[in-house]
């Protein structure tokens, strides 16, 4: 007896057979988590936008907070500072990761060992890395000691508590992520295409430029967008490794200070909204490539 016949004979089984229906039980399964996301994520977000338009000292809806932000140099320059960190960091991270992932697309030796080590900085988290970088790259750290001993420099380099320190920690944190993601993407491209191109007489550069690059383009775009969005929210490394009161006062720091040092939640929400809008601009790229998004950025990251 075929399942279909059984199903039509038993109403209970028919319910299970129809994957298109959303019955009461299925809705009941979805509701708790959906409610949670709505209450704890969507509502605060919307309320944040609303409260950013309602400063306590004014009546009615007003753009006063946004006007204040964009007319105060101390505040609006955080946007440039953040761009100044996020854009170079994104280009460096994606560029280096792409170069490496492309070179290793045919499989790498010690793959398990290398991927495990690369996962380490992600699992350890940004705070521990920052603490380590402060020591290792600090004025008296091993890095400067080595350079001094090798006679390459005469004075210790200042690599922490400045712009370079922030870039260093962002690179340590985001390079492994980006590399593993691109490696997964590129090694998923059918090697037959490349081989055919080689057989037809294309050199390595032609293969890269004419065959592989168009195929890799969506993956590279996703990588760019993800790394940009992540670096635009840079917060702890800008504090620990940068100059949070000056050269690396990013927009996230500005929002935090407004909320938890000045207790002006309305203004803070406005800054968070501005930050979100700039990130949204980066995300639009991903949403345009939505089909691959969920798999690429959640579990599908990296080689399978």
């Amino acid at each position: 007896m075929s399942p279909r016949a059984v199903a039509s004979a038993r109403p209970k089984a028919r319910r299970l057979r129809e994957p298109h229906a959303l019955d009461a039980a299925a809705v009941a399964c979805l509701v708790p988590s959906l409610l949670y996301v709505l209450v704890m994520f969507v509502y605060p977000f919307l309320y944040g936008i609303y409260s950013s338009l309602r400063p306590p000292q004014r009546a009615g809806l007003t753009l006063a907070n946004y006007v204040a932000f964009f007319s105060d140099e101390w505040q609006y320059r955080t946007v440039w500072i953040t761009f100044g960190i996020a854009v170079p960091n994104t280009v460096i991270v994606v560029g280096v990761a792409l170069l490496l992932a492309y070179g290793m697309r045919r499989g790498i030796r010690f793959e398990r060992a290398i991927t495990t080590i690369l996962v380490l900085p992600i699992a350890l988290g940004v705070i521990l890395l920052a603490e380590g970088i402060l020591g290792f790259y600090g004025g008296r750290g091993w890095f400067n000691q080595m350079l001094l001993a090798a006679g390459i420099i005469n004075e210790p380099l200042t690599l922490t508590h400045n712009y370079i320190g922030v870039l260093l920690s962002l690179f340590m944190q985001q390079f492994p992520f980006c590399f593993l993601m691109l490696l997964g993407y590129i090694s998923g491209i059918d090697p037959g295409l490349e081989n055919s191109a080689r057989t037809l007489g294309a050199g390595p550069f032609t293969v890269f430029y004419r065959v592989m690059l168009p195929l890799m383009a969506p993956g590279i775009a996703i990588a760019f967008a993800l790394v940009f969005v992540m670096s635009f929210g840079v917060f702890p490394s800008a504090i620990l490794l940068g100059q949070p009161a000056g050269a690396t006062r990013t927009i996230a720091i500005a929002a935090y200070q407004q909320a938890f040092e000045r207790y002006d939640m309305s203004y803070a929400s406005a800054i968070a909204v501005v930050m979100g809008l700039f990130q949204l601009a980066g995300l639009v790229v991903i949403i345009l490539l939505r089909r691959r998004m969920v798999t690429a950025a959640t579990m599908g990251v990296g080689k399978r």
Binding site: I114, A255, I287, A297, G302
Partner: protein, 272 residues
């Protein structure tokens, strides 16, 4: 000619990876050495070693309490995220309905949007209702990205279970609860383990949300580490490093357990 250039190129790639690994080892072991140093100024290794900084950190940074909070928060988040995520993952894996892509996008947003962006409105909301600064608030905030994480980790595990098993069970008269208890639950144990350990590692090392929501008595280890590292100068750097070593050990133990269940690349899931 071409072959030699190719080999040089390959060598350069490996050298870069080697350099990165060396750099990482340097960073991590610098913390380790510094935590055991009596005093350390510009020499390759400290002159004398001591464990006094661990005692110092333990008593001065209230680490017993911080550790207890961390463990409690992490375990609660695991249980609650799985409880909320399991049924949703089942329906999303099995059913097709209108608006499903939109729903998936909604679940995906907390993972995609950096935590600083939605953490500030979330924290102000929690403080408005008096939950901010409490351990409960920290758990609630951490669940925002972790429920979606649970859903996205569990979904492929449900997709692997053949529908025929459910049909068969239903045909033999099993009701929904029996199907859940006798078929789905046993078959998703690997998925549940994977999701638990990923959530555990992520919650322990998640900084931003916990930082924004936690108060004096509800800091997790990584947030306490940040405050003490930031207070640099006030605290002896060795004691901060001793605390960092304790944090590192916690994460590494979890990571070792995790790698028994998941491929390393499955850990590549950044939340900040």
């Amino acid at each position: 000619m071409n072959g030699r250039r190719g080999r040089l190129w390959g060598l350069a790639l490996y050298l870069f990876v080697f350099g990165f690994v060396l750099n990482l080892l340097g960073i991590v072991s610098h913390v380790l050495v510094s935590a055991f140093a009596k005093r350390w100024f510009g020499t390759p290794l400290p002159a004398a070693f001591t464990t006094q900084w661990f005692e110092y950190a333990w008593s001065n940074f209230d680490l017993g309490r911080v550790l207890a909070v961390t463990v409690f928060v992490a375990l609660s988040v695991v249980v609650l995220a799985l409880g909320l995520g399991f049924p949703a993952a089942y329906v999303l894996a099995r059913r097709d309905f209108r608006g499903k892509p939109l729903l998936l996008l909604l679940y995906f947003l907390p993972l995609l949007i950096p935590q600083m962006t939605y953490g500030i409105p979330l924290a102000t909301t929690l403080y408005r209702y008096g939950i901010g600064g409490t351990v409960a608030g920290v758990i609630l905030a951490n669940l925002v990205p972790m429920v979606p994480l649970a859903i996205f980790v569990l979904m492929p595990f449900f997709e692997q279970i053949s529908l025929n098993l459910e049909w068969g069970a239903a045909m033999m008269g099993a009701n929904r609860f029996q199907i859940f208890r006798r078929i789905l639950l046993p078959l998703t144990v690997p998925g549940l383990l994977t999701a638990s350990i990923l959530i555990l590692v992520n919650t322990v090392s998640n900084f931003e949300l916990t930082f924004l929501v936690s108060g004096a008595g509800s800091q997790t280890l990584v947030v306490a580490l940040f405050y003490n590292a930031f207070a640099g100068g006030v605290r002896p750097v060795y004691s901060v490093d001793a605390m960092a070593v304790m944090y590192m050990t916690t994460v590494l133990v979890l990571l070792l357990i995790a790698l028994r269940f998941v491929r390393p690349t499955q850990m590549v899931f950044r939340l900040d």
